[in-house]
């Protein structure tokens, strides 16, 4: 075993932490070099970029975490985007009508998100429709409800008293830390989390072992609803308004956030899923902000989107073939070891 492998083995936690930090750091460095060389500005050019990063990060992190509640357990809930629209439009407007400001908007949206998610989960455990098909149906219903409300105006936070807090950096950090603490406890240390992991391993065995897989599924849907609602509120705070959509357009939000979730799940191999998804979201946000600087040299929105999803595609190709690469690596090591052993034996024999 080489010295490096030895060090790796002895400091495994340190190495895992370094790997988790290294991925967003590398993305930032690559984008920074490209931005500086091509556009003449750095990726994080000013305090405006940091504020944008934090706001978009918490939104993307929460949405990806919401998707991660169900996806690893084999439930692809395509209705999470519409849950976000419904929760934010209804919850946000109720909070605004009660003059509860940004915190009220956040709490009411969360509450409505839990209800919307809970209803989807309730239908799933009772009707046992394929989660993806159920999600598509629920998407259409939730989209129509949110479209028909409030004169199709959605949620407008522009100029509303008390909503500035949603762009306050300290508030964003506090919310992010709270979400991390709660979700780490739920996923890693609560009986809900243990059961979820057991179900993730084998649903039938978990059921046979006495785990209430239906209650667990319902709770996953509720947690996902709350998380995507938080994501929607911070996204709306940046864009000032959330315009309702129809025709399953809310699904685009789901697929947009699949990227940070996929990176996060990959990073979670070396850390816990919450930190992994945070690091994954951070990496994707650095990519998005870095690409946004290319607007200065004439790159269109469409091209930026194209580059972003091409990176995702490359990442997915790597993920799908990761085991093959590892296999080839192991093979090389084995061959080298065999060669070295033969050489050693030959040397001994010659002597």
């Amino acid at each position: 075993m080489s010295k490096w492998q030895n060090f790796n083995k002895r400091h495994i936690l340190l190495m895992h932490a370094a790997f988790t930090i290294a991925v967003p750091l590398v993305v930032w460095m690559v984008m920074n070099v490209l931005d500086t060389l091509v556009c003449g500005v750095s990726t994080m050019n000013s305090i405006v970029d940091w504020t944008t990063l934090m706001r978009n990060l918490v939104s993307s992190f929460c949405f990806a975490l919401g998707l991660n509640c169900n996806l690893p357990v084999g439930r692809m809930d395509t209705s999470t985007g519409s849950q976000m629209y419904l929760a934010c439009i209804l919850g946000g407007n109720i909070a605004l009508s009660l003059n509860l400001g940004g915190v009220g908007v956040l709490l009411f949206s969360m509450l409505l998100g839990m209800m919307a998610g809970g209803f989807t989960g309730f239908l799933f455990i009772n009707l046992r429709i394929l989660p993806m098909v159920l999600g598509l149906g629920i998407s259409l219903v939730y989209e129509c409800i949110s479209f028909s409300m409030y004169d199709q105006q959605g949620l407008n936070l522009f100029g509303k008293p008390g909503v500035e807090i949603l762009s306050n950096k300290v508030f964003i950090i506090v919310v992010t830390l709270l979400i991390m603490a709660v979700m780490t406890y739920l996923f890693q240390y609560s009986s809900f989390g243990y059961n979820r992991r057991a179900i993730q391993g084998n649903q039938k065995l978990a059921n046979d072992a006495g785990i209430n897989i239906y209650r667990n599924a319902l709770l996953c849907y509720v947690a996902a609803g709350a998380l995507v609602a938080i994501a929607g509120v911070f996204d709306t705070a940046y864009k000032s308004s959330l315009v309702p959509v129809l025709g399953m357009s809310s699904n685009s939000t789901v697929f947009t956030n699949m990227f940070p979730m996929a990176v996060g799940v990959w990073l979670a191999k070396k850390t816990n899923p919450v930190i992994g998804i945070l690091a994954g979201s951070l990496s994707v946000q650095f990519l998005v902000l870095g690409l946004a600087k290319f607007t200065n040299v004439g790159m269109s929105n469409y091209m930026q989107t194209c580059v972003k999803y091409s990176v995702w595609l490359v990442f997915m190709i790597y993920r799908m073939n990761e085991d093959k690469i590892q296999l080839a690596k192991d093979k090389r090591v084995r061959v080298a070891l065999a060669k070295a052993t033969r050489a050693k034996r030959a040397a001994v024999a010659a002597a």
Binding site: T52, M115, N156, L291, A292, S300, N301, M303
Partner: protein
Amino acid sequence: MRKNIWKRTATLFLAGVMAVISLSGCGGASSSAPAAAAASGSTTSAASSETTVPTKQFVIGVAEAQANDEVTTRRAYYEDFIAPNYNVKFIFSEVLKDDAAVKTFIENCIDSGADAIIDFKSNSAQMARMCEENGVIYTVQGIPDMSPELEDGNFPLHTGWVGADNAQVGNLFRDWLEANASADGKEGFLISTSLAPQGNVQHVQVSRSILEGLQEKYGLTYEKSIEDLVASSETTNVANDKGILITLYPGSPNKETWLPGISSLLQTGKYAMFLSSGQTYNQSATAVKEVEQAFNIDIKVASIAAFSTTLTTAFNTKDANGNPSVDMVTVKPSSALNACLFAVTYNALNGAIETTCRDADGKPANFRFQMISITSPEELAKTEGWDNKDTGTWIAGKEFVDSMLVTKHPDITPEDINKIMAGLNVDSISAMMG
């Protein structure tokens, strides 16, 4: 057994909650603006005209391109005011993303017995042909030069176009730039062309008007034609003979990359003017405000708008420099535009397409409407209550609509309708509204 009871209770509870949610959403403004109130509440409505409702009912389909204040106002105007006063039934589309969606909508309208289509999305010979084949009248919100096939084709049931008077909109921007832009134009102009490259009629018209306004103000010669510039889906620096920095930024505000792109461009500090062809002043407000605060600069914002609480909020919300969030808006007199579209369509439905919808060459007529410019909270206050869907106070009341109808004025011509529309400005509307 206990499990079943729990399940049923939970089902009932959740179903109840969802029903309450749905119903609370379905309520709202439409119920607060009943048809009768809308008609009588209008300053220029039934009070001064006869109130006889035509006996023959027409069905008109309305193809929408977006969902915003303007669309909500239009819907309220048509449903609450026009429908009961002229015995017309309207079928409204959802947001139509492309021509295929418009086609499907028109087919559905035809199946539902529609007599006419008012098209806010496409400006297309294909739609005109489909209407032609089914004996349906076709009216477009837009301008003829955007659809040469429609202009040159033979479509006897196509009434014509109702679009913004580009020259007038250009003048509004030019006048505002005259007063607010520097003499040499060194501050830089960022223009959001929004969905103009995708053919959104309003965005194309306004983008062209802004470029024409800048051209007039600085006597510029562009290296490319304005049509080509507006149609570009890339971020484009407009090459011109005076070296003035004019950047066109296309894209939908709903795309995740739109706002970071705007922020990134503004952070270069090269732009002190942000002009938008769409209603984006509220979506860009946070990004503009943050850049102003971080770089201690003043960015002036001009945009399209509709009368709404969002607009009032924008004029009453101060940026880092103590100026309103938006410095100038050009507002469509929404009900007047919709009244014109309705009148043209209604005249055709009453068999007067040849006399009321054809120009001197016998081609479908080109009707124009005037935009209104608002530059301060005081000016906005003057327009308070105009096109208010909650109170049913419309700029285009019954007298105004009647003045464009062949059923009331058998000798009316397209020129007369254009004269009526050209007469609309803040003063004339103020006088009309009393």
